[in-house]
Structures are given as structure tokens and as C-alpha cells.
């Protein structure tokens, strides 16, 4: 990469937080018109490095050089001024304001000196969005547009402020596969226009699809910077994790036993009274993994909730090991042997303010040996947690560490440990690897297969088609609350993808 082409160089960036070296002499270069991916596991220091670049943190050591000149940023404002824009994972938009108002906020076009020139703002937003194919209605309220559109608003906001360098922090984490494809198109047009993009991710396939160069961080250190040509998922995974990673799930064919979970003609409504599950029937046998594929919002959440007793089904039957469970509460379903790894571990799977020990006891805190006659024995909780922490290799804390202080992967391990330790007959795993990095995903996949081989019936729900395809022994496709397809054995991604989008019907 020639020196003239460089727009940004970070040299020897070091940042230490109490007890951890988040960035250890990291070098990073960015050329004009380049998409440069920053790859690493959760906690590898990607976000820290970018927060330093965006002026949110101050580096302990190191230099930032923009277009050949050293710069220092006291705040994000300084970074924005020299043309750096950042789209955070969690959007910083004001829901009650319009798209145009959000974009111009802080730098509003004015009318008569003090009034917001709304027409002017919308006009300028429209120009920008046409130029880069960022389709979004400038007069819509942010609270009424989709997440994918909100992300576009964030990108437009950065462009509006004159960003030449755009930092995208795990931009696809909140998007559906379709939205992600659209985002890649937008990135493409930004690159063509000469913008430089830093793309933070821990998803290997994405990075290989979009990036020109890839820099891998591990434990705060830069491991390597490689061009896309010649890079493979295996090589990148190895650099990220620091050891050989098995990207394909290694499993033998299933030996299904008796039917443990049976769902018959289930109808479930959501809180707005919309029928989300419309007559679903299926069964899961002991020793098999049944995967439910589908685009988000096609009734997966309502289906799981109904099986777990967290939502009352309108009609239909759920049987666990042959026993009917009408009007079951969550407690009833726990007691008949249903384990549930919920799709949102932070909102539902864990009480983040509780310690690991208290979280491990979340289902059985009132049973012996955790408690007797309503009296709780914290020492027993700690003892049980210590065992599971060891067994499931939870890192980052002991039994008395708050769950909120753990990394995402370790939080998920706590949830999985708790559910499996109860020895459930049926295990519902809803998006079990969402937001996790390759190392943790590998572990979880292996664990699910092991649990299958233990003779549990596993119902896997995932938005990642790859995950469904590699883990499931049977695949069901959920489309608009109904089973749109069922597959056993070899099936192509395209076929399922088509069913996920209701293709069968449309094609007919």
C-alpha cells in the first residue's frame, strides 16, 4: 500500500484498563477507498482501538496520523471534525424525531437564524441517500422504521457530518440476512466514492466477502494484516483464536429414540393479538436435533415461549415424554423436564445483577440442597456453581462474580451449564450462539451434539442457516407461523432459503 494512498495510520496504540491490557502496541493502516476489516473475538480490543480513533478513549501510548499529520483527539467532536464517523452497535438516535432531524442534529440547516429549516434538511438528506443508495424516508419517525433503516440513518448522519473514514462496529449483528446483503451494497458504493471503511466483526464469512484487507486482533495485540486474496476462514479463525478451530461440526448420524417433545396444531398469539404461530405440529425424539429455520419474526419466539410455558397458547397440545401439559406455567414445564436456553440471555436467561452462583440456582433455588423449608443456603449455591464453572469452563470470574461482568460467551456458558445440569429430557436452544465468537460457538455446537448423544431431544432455533444446516438431524422451516418445509438428510441452502422466504408459494 503506497504511502500516498494512506488516509490514516495508528502507530503503537496502547491502552490499559485496570487489570487488563486492552490494546498492546497496535498498528493499523487505512487506505483511501479501502474496506479494512478488524477481526477478533469479543474482548480482543477491537472496540477499544476504534473508540480511541473516535476520540472516546485516550490512548496511553501511540500516535494517530491522519493524511500524514499527527493528530490528537480530546473528544469525538475532534474526530468528527477531521472526517471520522462511527456507527455504534447500539444506535444513538432519538426515536421521537424524524430521520432528517436525527441526521442534522448538532449541525442543523437554519431558517431566519434560529428556526430549523426542515425542508432544507430533508432535501439534503435525500441527496445524500440517493448518492449512496441509502434508501430511507427522511420524514419518517425513527421509532417507526426498522433496525436496518436505523442503521442507514446512522451512516447518513456520519456522511452528513463529512465523514471520509467510516467505522462500522459489528454492523450486521442486528440485521437480518437480507438487510446485511443490502448493507454490503451500500458499503460497496461508499468505497467506489473513495470513502474508507473500517468494518469491525467477528464473523469470518462476512469479512471475507466485503473486506479488502483484514487485520486480526487477539488479546489486545495485532496478530496480522492480510489481504483478502489468499485468506481463508480456517486461517483467520486460527489467527483469531490462536489455535486450530473446527469450523464444521463433527457429528455422527443420529440414533433417534422415543418421542420426547410433541407439538400438535399449536396456535399462539403475540401481545398485539396477532396470530404468530398458526397451527404448528412436529415432534422431537430422544437423541436427535431438530432445527427450526426461518427469518426472524416468523413465529419462532412465540413458539418457544409457548412450549416453555412463558406464553399461553390459544389452542393446541404440547406433550413432553407423552404427558400433556395444558395451561402450563414456566414452573410446570421446568418440572416435566424442559430445559430452555433463551434467545436473549441478558434479558431473560440471566439476572445480570445476580452472582453466577445465584444465576445457576435460578430454577432450583427452592429445592434441596439449595434450600429447605424456604431457607436458602448460599454456601450450597456457591458449591454447585463452582462445580459447573469448572465443568463448563466458564472464565472471567468465580461463583461470586456478578453475571453482568462476564463476557457474552461466558454468560452463555453459565446459561447452558444451568440448563444442562438439570438433566432435561427436552432442551430448547434458541439462537444459542448469537453474538458469540468462533471459539465459544465451536464449544457450544460440540456441546449440543454431545447432549444429543446423551439421549436428549434438542430443539434448535436459529436465524443462522449455517448453524441449522450443520447441527440439525432434521430441519423444519417456519414461515409466517406455519411449517413451510421439512427435510431430513442432505438439503441445499438454496432450497431452505427459498422456503424461508415463502418461495414455494410465490414460485407456484
Amino acid at each position: 500500500m503506497s504511502a500516498e494512498g494512506l488516509v490514516l495510520e495508528m502507530r503503537g496504540i496502547t491502552k490499559e484498563f485496570p487489570g487488563i491490557l486492552a490494546n498492546d502496541h497496535v498498528d493499523f493502516q487505512l487506505a483511501r477507498g479501502e474496506v479494512h476489516a478488524l477481526l477478533g473475538e469479543n474482548g480482543a480490543g477491537k472496540s477499544t482501538l476504534m473508540n480511541i480513533l473516535y476520540g472516546l478513549y485516550k490512548a496511553d501510548e501511540g500516535q494517530i496520523i491522519m493524511r500524514g499529520k499527527p493528530v490528537t483527539f480530546a473528544s469525538a467532536k475532534d474526530a468528527i471534525e477531521v472526517g471520522i464517523g462511527m456507527v455504534h452497535q447500539h444506535f444513538m438516535l432519538i426515536p421521537v424525531m424524524t430521520v432528517a432531524e436525527n441526521i442534522v442534529l448538532g449541525n442543523e440547516p437554519r431558517r431566519d437564524g434560529i428556526l430549523l429549516d426542515e425542508a432544507g434538511a430533508e432535501q439534503r438528506v435525500r441527496e445524500l441517500s440517493q448518492r449512496y443508495g441509502l434508501v430511507v424516508d427522511p420524514s419518517a419517525l425513527v421509532s417507526q422504521i426498522t433496525v436496518g433503516q436505523q442503521q442507514r440513518v446512522e451512516i447518513l448522519k456520519a456522511l452528513y457530518r463529512g465523514a471520509e473514514i467510516l467505522i462500522l462496529d459489528e454492523p450486521t449483528a442486528v440485521l437480518t440476512p437480507q438487510e446485511a446483503t443490502e448493507l454490503f451494497g451500500i458499503i460497496e458504493s461508499l468505497r467506489t466514492d473513495g470513502k474508507s471503511i473500517i468494518f469491525i466483526s467477528h464473523k469470518l464469512n462476512e469479512v471475507l466477502e466485503i473486506a479488502d484487507r483484514i487485520t486480526v486482533l487477539r488479546r489486545g495485540k495485532k496478530i496480522e494484516t492480510v489481504p483478502r486474496e489468499g485468506a481463508t476462514e480456517e486461517l483467520l479463525a486460527r489467527a483469531m483464536v490462536g489455535r486450530e478451530v473446527l469450523l464444521r461440526v463433527d457429528k455422527t448420524s443420529a440414533k433417534p429414540g422415543e418421542v420426547l417433545l410433541e407439538v400438535e396444531d399449536l396456535h399462539v398469539f403475540d401481545e398485539r393479538g396477532i396470530e404468530k404461530v398458526r397451527g404448528v405440529s412436529f415432534s422431537v425424539r430422544a437423541g436427535e436435533i431438530v432445527g427450526i429455520a426461518g427469518v426472524d419474526g416468523n413465529g419462532q419466539t412465540e413458539l418457544i415461549d409457548a412450549i416453555a410455558g412463558l406464553r399461553r397458547a390459544q389452542s393446541g397440545i404440547v406433550r413432553v415424554a407423552g404427558r400433556e401439559c395444558p395451561h402450563a406455567t414456566p414452573r410446570d414445564m421446568l418440572d416435566v423436564g424442559v430445559g430452555h436456553i433463551p434467545e436473549d440471555r441478558q434479558r431473560r436467561g440471566l439476572v445480570l445483577e445476580f452472582t453466577i452462583a445465584e444465576n445457576v440456582a435460578l430454577h432450583d433455588y427452592a429445592k434441596e440442597p439449595d434450600a429447605k423449608w424456604g431457607w436458602l443456603f448460599p454456601a450450597k449455591l456457591v458449591e454447585a456453581a463452582r462445580l459447573l464453572i469448572k465443568q463448563f469452563d466458564v472464565r472471567g470470574g468465580g461463583p461470586l462474580t456478578r453475571a453482568g461482568g462476564l463476557s457474552g460467551g461466558n454468560q452463555q456458558k453459565v446459561v447452558v451449564a444451568r440448563e444442562i445440569a438439570r438433566d432435561p429430557k427436552v432442551l430448547i436452544a434458541a439462537q444459542p450462539t448469537r453474538g458469540l465468537d468462533v471459539g465459544a460457538i465451536e464449544y457450544l455446537h460440540r456441546r449440543l451434539v454431545e447432549e444429543r448423544d446423551e439421549g436428549r431431544a434438542i430443539l434448535l432455533i436459529s436465524l443462522e442457516l449455517d448453524e441449522i444446516l450443520s447441527l440439525s438431524d432434521r430441519i423444519l422451516v417456519l414461515y409466517e407461523g406455519q411449517i413451510a418445509g421439512e427435510h431430513e438428510g442432505e438439503v441445499s441452502e438454496e432450497e431452505i432459503g427459498l422456503e424461508m422466504l415463502g418461495g414455494r408459494r410465490r414460485a407456484a
Binding site: F17, P18, G19, I20, L21, A22, D24, E41, G43, A44, S47, T48, H90, P95, V142, S143, T146, V147, Q150, V174, R218, K221, V241, G242, D296, G297, A308, P330, R331, L334, H340, R347, R348, G349, L350, V351, L352, E353, F354, E358, A361, L362, H363, Y365, A366, G374, W375, L376, P378, R395, G396, G397, T401, G404, G405, L406, S407, G409, N410, A440
Partner: protein
Amino acid sequence: MTTDLGEPTPPIPPEQAAVTGTMASRISLRQRSGGVIVPVLTVVVAFLIGGVVVAATGHNPLAAYRDIFNGAGLNWFFHPTTNTANTAPYNLTQTLLQTTSLILTGLAVAFAFRCGLFNIGGQGQYFVGLFVANWIGASWATMAAGPHIVIAILAAAAAGAVWAAIAGFLKATVGAHEVISTIMLNWIAIWIGTYLFGDGGPLQNSQNSALPISNDVTKSAQLPVIWGDQQLQGLHIGFFVAIAALVVFWLILNRTTLGYEVRAVGFNPEAAAYGGISVKKNLIRAMAISGAFAGLAGGLDMLGYLYRIGVSDIPASGVGFLGIAVALLGRNTALGVGLGAFLFGALLYGTTHGLQSGSIDPQLAGNLTYMIQGLIVLFVGADVLILYVWNTRRRLRRKTEPA
């Protein structure tokens, strides 16, 4: 930490996660680490501002605070003597009397808080405890002292529990916000009292029908005085009941499955429900226990030193509301509530009885307590408020996501 490269997931110590985590986690970390610092700072700043106000009226704030200190009997610690004929020990017994009630009304607010409920109805629950204790204490004059006291106190606590449980029930069944319903229940309690003890009311003084005052609690139901003269509002054994309540509060929350459920629901109702805990049941139960503490406060006050209540006393009482300040200052912990109650007890008695006419304007004397109380609530409430606003924002943002 940085040497063991090659591990699949880096261990992130909690402090680190909080540093790099969301704003909410940073705030909650600060709130937890500021467990002692923030309340202490709050009190200091509140006193400083109070001092500025005193100075602005042309008086010496140091002299005023010294008078409050002595007025609360805190100088007793320099010259300990048990003889309440002396001023310092007498003042101290009065401060402790206030502390007793404040511990319990503070615990009432704190317990509900731990379940995610804001019980503003401590005052109403205190009143029903007061009324029931008076009714039972003034009846059955022939009963033996022990059972009479126990029955009256238990009834007072039960009355407070029922009163608060109404708000919990409404929240659990129809979603009525407890802040609104407990405030309404406060007024209902006030008017019930006005009716019961007012002219022609069923519990009005049976000797003199012209007085809008209750009957007196009989000797058999009066709590034994442990320090001082019963005729001069000595300190009664209720003080120890309040101290025991602090221990019970801690035990319930940390050593029982009930407390586990309360805390789980308070932190994250969705995770609690997923865990198999009934959120509705806990909302009602937590309010009931909360109300029992406030009702107990009313019962002890009635049997301990008030012995009677007049209609005109009802609007003057603010011990239930002060409990909110005590709980906020005490961070909803047992120890914190105990210390907070002592501070406010001292302040309450010290400002009303300690200030010499020369050291401060008389009109300002009583109001100084309210001012300091208000400042403390403002400061302590401020970061809770920030957290609340932040969480609401996060919830709103979640709603906009289709997931």
C-alpha cells in the same frame, strides 16, 4: 492476564467489563461502588447548603449545627449517663424514639424497592397500623399484658400488610402503578382515621364525646419503657424490635427463597418468570411485607409512647414519608436504613428542640429538617433517576427493534 495467549475466551474482570460496557453498567457500577461514598457525600453537601441558608439569615451555621447536635442528645456520647433527668440523655431517648419509627418506615420503602416497587404509601400503612393498635390497645383492658401487646402489635403489622397488599394486588392484576395507588391509599387511610376518631366516630373517646380523640391505650397494652420515664416519653422496647427488624430484613432478602425471588423480580422480572418465579405473586407479597414494616412502626408508636391519637394529629405526621428519604439514603440495605434512620431521627428531634432562639430564626428551625431532607432525596435520587431514564431509553430502543 495478558500472558496466557491462546485461550479461546479472554477472561474479563468485572471492573473491566464495566469500564468498556454500556453507560448503564458504568452507572450501576458507580452506584454500587459509591455504596458508602455517595450517601456520605450527599449528607455532607446537604448540610453545607443548609449551612449557607442559615448564614444567609445572618446566623452562624456552626452554632446552629452544634445546637442541633446537642438538641438531638448526641453530646451524650461525650458524657454518658443514664439519668434522663439530665438533658443530654433525655434528648437521646427522644432521638432514638424517632429512630425506631424511621427504621421501620425506611425498611418498608426499602423492601418494596428491592422488588422493583416504589412504595410511597408508607404513611398510609403506618396510619392503619396506628389505628388498629389503638383500637386493640384500648379494648380488652382486662387482658394480660404480654398477650395484649403481642396481639396488638401483630394486628398492626397485619393491617399495614393488607393495606399495602391492595396496591400490590392492583399492580399484579390490572397493572395499576403502585405509586398512584399507594398515594390514593394514603388519603383513604387519613380519612378513615378522621372518621373513626372524629365527632361521632365509632372509636372516638368514650369519656368525652366532644373531643375528636381516641381512647387511651390501656396499661396492659403499653410497651415497657427501658430508658427514661414513661410519663415523659421514655424509650420503649420497640427500639429493639426495630433493630431486630433490620436483621430480619437482611435475613429475608439474603437467606430465604422468598428473598431470592423478591430480588430476582426486582432486578429482572422477565428472567425471574423464565426461572419459574411467579412475578405477580411476588409483587403482592413484597408489598405486603413492606406494609407490615410500616404497620409495625404505627403499632409500636401507638403502644410505645403515643397511647392515643387525635384527628388533628393525623395530617401532622410525616414519619412514613421520611421513610422514603431514609431508604434512599440507606441504599435499601439493612445497615444503611439503620444509619439513615438515626441521622433523620437526630435531625428531626434536634432541629425542633435543640435550636436556641438566638442561633437561628425560629421559623427556620423546623424547616431546616425538611430542607436537608429534601436536598438528600434530591441528591440521592438523582443517580437513581439517571439510571431510570437510561433504562427507559433502552427499553424504548428495544421496542423499535423487530427482534
